[in-house]
């Protein structure tokens, strides 16, 4: 059949229910799978429903319900304030320590929660993987979005705290969405790697809580990055969460810290870091995706 004939056939299809060319070809993928992010977009309604399910179900059958969202960061803040603010006198760059810590805990908890959810998302939903087809990327993605709800609730508490301590919101707040996005992408990048690895190696399930704990101390959550000697500060660039956490403080508390030459470099290096992890994570996820159903 030549091309013109083929075109005619395709035209016919608009009236005819049975297409002449296959709408779907199934065969083994060799080499590099395309990322096919378009498929994720086509399934956005499913993403929406999964996020909605997560949100709806999360605090069901708990006495405190939504209060848990607030309780976690607030209790951490109180403990940190007593321990690091009062006892150890960790410098908080001129801001009351509770706000200083809470502002950092907010994006950190979001990141930690998202990473935990996305890395465990595949193994906790085996029936979605073995019984039905849709782009698997949707599963780790849904955790990122559902955690935004928790983030939003905890953010309201921050506004209350800022009001209490009389901290003015400045125009720097406009960078906040960008920082949230950065936290999401960081969680997604690492989450994709860990979720895909988790399908084969359940060690990941034990690794993640430990990893998050260590990572928190490597991130300026309970201390400020000014505490680290200038010559070692480039190390912070390896951790994109530094930019997120310090950025949060900067944009909300109006600190002047990150305007130096070093901080620009840290920002750029962090962005490169996130891009590398995210892109390799996507590729790795897509490459291993086809074996999920066989080994989960």
């Amino acid at each position: 059949m030549n091309d013109t004939q083929l075109n005619e056939k395709v035209k016919e299809d608009q009236v005819n229910p049975v297409p002449d060319v296959p709408t779907l070809i199934i065969q083994s993928t060799r080499g590099w799978a395309s990322l096919d992010l378009g498929a994720v977009w086509r399934y956005r309604e499913l993403l929406y429903f999964l996020v909605w399910r997560d949100v709806k179900v999360r605090y069901k059958q708990t006495v405190l319900g939504v209060l848990w969202i607030i309780l976690q960061p607030v209790v951490s803040m109180v403990v940190f304030s007593l321990l690091f603010g009062q006892l150890l006198k960790v410098p908080s760059d001129g801001v009351p320590y509770p706000v200083f810590a809470y502002t950092a805990l907010l994006p950190w908890n979001y990141f930690a929660g998202s990473l935990t959810r996305s890395s465990g998302s595949l193994v906790s939903n085996p029936q979605l993987i073995t019984k039905v087809y849709f782009p698997r990327l949707i599963i780790p993605l849904s955790g990122l979005f559902s955690n935004l709800v928790d983030f939003g609730v905890a953010f309201v508490v921050l506004i209350g705290l800022m009001f209490f301590y009389g901290i003015q919101i400045t125009s720097a707040i406009v960078v906040l969405p960008f920082l949230i996005l950065l936290a999401m992408l960081t969680a997604l990048g690492f989450g994709l790697w860990l979720a895909a690895l988790n399908v084969r190696y359940r060690d990941v399930g034990y690794l993640v809580p430990f990893l998050i704990q260590v990572w928190m101390y490597a991130t300026p959550v309970i201390y400020g990055s000014t505490l680290i000697p200038e010559r070692f500060r480039f190390l912070l660039a390896l951790n994109p969460m530094t930019v997120v956490v310090e950025g949060f403080r900067w944009s909300l508390l109006g600190q002047t810290a990150p305007a130096s030459q070093t901080s620009i470099w840290i920002l750029i290096l962090s962005l490169i870091m996130v891009a590398v992890v995210l892109i390799t994570g996507l590729i790795f996820f897509r490459r291993t995706e086809r074996t999920f159903a066989d080994i989960i």
Binding site: E12, N16, P17, V18, P19, D20, V21, P22, T23, L24, I25, I26, Q27, S28, T29, E45, L46, Y48, F49, L50, W52, R53, K56, V57, K60, Q61, N125, Q127, L128, I129, T130, K131, V132, Y133, F134, V199, R200, Y201, R202, D203, R290, T291, A293, D294, I295, I296
Partner: protein, 428 residues
């Protein structure tokens, strides 16, 4: 217009047994594997020559067929014949090792009812969630919502969390959502095996409607009755290969014939233990015996004499609330009866070797072939050994049904019932 809805060409799938039996590896195993790798011969063909189990298995091998639009095709075969693998490949859940399939039109798969149902969500919420998972758009669900609810007969409980549903309601709702998919090609796995008889009938009716609407349907079932009533054409798979393809009646007969030549046909089956024996880390079967009233192991029994089924198994870890479930099935896959030792089992079973025995009294079964189907589970908690047909038995002899005329007598059972006879009146 194309006269093909689905074309399958040399579709094959190789499974690594290590990966499929052992559901996950730990990093430690992998590291240990790397260290010892140079010392082992890992080529699968070598391994099998050495008398060990081969490391790989072709779950599907060079399967080719074509289906025309509007055809309703049954896929039959024993457990492990490759039916589910075929459906999983066609549903894009897993990839073939080689070969290809071409699908012409919108395809939907139904390999399980209620995928993604969340117990905490209400019926209404689960309809939307499950619909989205099955690939329906929200607008489409909105449009069919009332129909789905009516089909499932759950109007009153629409806003109750499904965890409070009876299992029947749950299944009805789950099937109702799936039944309202409107693809060009529908792929259905053994989903009718759930729910009560009335609902199964309703589902079959719905499936029949789908078939008459001109949709192409690929239908897997162990229920030969359902296959016969729905499919004009069937495909028989055996050991991953396409055995025959043709009119359903012929294929069903061929299937029934193939089932009779199964292994373990001498009234007993033994396992050496280890990974080979059916089971899991907690419990493994060790043997099954069929014993006649004279105490002999055999597979042919007199109708009027009892049959003893003896199951031995090894418990490796303490188990609470375990039970053995025996189902006696006919050749057509109908469950003649099911019975369990649950009430005899102690609350907690300590590690050790055990035997459960049951006696099927004489004067119940018909002149027929039956299959011993066993499963082990903790009800409501988990399935320890999934149900499988292990042995067959044939009943012969003077039938209890009330006649000695040599004929095939219908029915799953031939009960010895009391008839009375009397003359009421003389006509003269």
């Amino acid at each position: 217009m194309s006269n093909i809805a689905l074309r399958v060409d040399n579709l094959s799938k190789l499974y690594h047994i290590g990966a499929s039996l052992q559901h996950y590896a730990t990093l430690r195993d992998v590291l240990a594997g790397w260290l010892t790798k140079p010392l082992r011969r890992t080529r699968p063909d070598r391994a099998s020559k050495n008398g060990r189990q081969p490391d790989t298995i072709w779950a599907l091998k060079d399967v080719s067929f074509e289906i025309r639009p509007g055809e309703v095709v049954g896929i039959i075969g024993r457990n492990g014949a490759g039916k589910s693998t075929l459906l999983k490949i066609l549903s894009q859940i897993t990839e073939p090792t080689y070969g290809r399939a071409e699908i012409f039109g919108r395809v939907s798969s139904l390999l399980e009812v209620g995928t993604g149902f969340h117990p905490e969500l209400t019926g209404r919420e689960n309809i939307y969630l499950n619909g989205a998972i099955l690939g329906m758009r929200r607008a489409e669900i909105n449009r069919k919502f009332d129909e789905i609810v009516a089909f499932a007969e759950i109007e009153k409980f629409l806003d109750t969390p499904v965890k409070h549903y009876s299992s029947g309601m749950y299944v009805r709702l789950a099937f109702a959502v799936a039944a309202h998919l409107e693809p060009d090609i529908l792929i259905v796995d053994e989903v009718l095996a759930v729910g009560d008889a009335a609902f199964q009938k309703k589902c079959l009716g719905k499936m029949g409607d789908v078939a008459t609407e001109g949709r192409t349907v690929l239908f897997v079932s162990h229920n030969m009755g359902a296959i016969r009533s729905l499919c004009e054409r069937s495909i028989l798979l055996m050991d991953g290969q396409l055995e025959i393809d043709g009119p359903t009646q012929a294929i069903v007969n061929a299937y029934l014939l193939s089932v009779t030549t199964m292994k373990g046909d001498k009234g007993e089956i033994h396992w050496a233990g280890g990974e080979e024996a059916p089971g899991c880390d907690e419990v493994r079967l060790s043997s099954i015996h069929l014993i006649s009233h004279t105490g002999k192991v055999q597979n042919t029994f007199q109708l009027d004499k009892s049959i003893v089924v003896e199951v031995t198994y090894i418990v490796h870890k303490p188990l609470r609330g375990m039970r053995i479930v025996l189902k006696l099935k006919t050749e057509e896959g109908v469950i003649a009866f099911a019975s369990t030792d649950h009430n005899q089992q102690p609350a907690e079973l300590q590690p050790g070797r055990y035997m459960s025995t049951v006696t099927v009294p004489g004067g119940i079964l018909n002149r027929n072939k039956y299959y011993i189907h066993l499963s082990v589970d903790i009800p409501g908690v988990k399935v320890l050994i999934p149900g499988t047909e292990y042995l067959s038995l044939t009943c012969i002899g003077e039938s209890a049904h009330g006649s000695n005329f040599p004929e095939n007598w219908p029915g799953v059972f031939a009960l010895r019932l009391e008839w009375s006879f009397e003359r009421l009146d003389s006509m003269d």
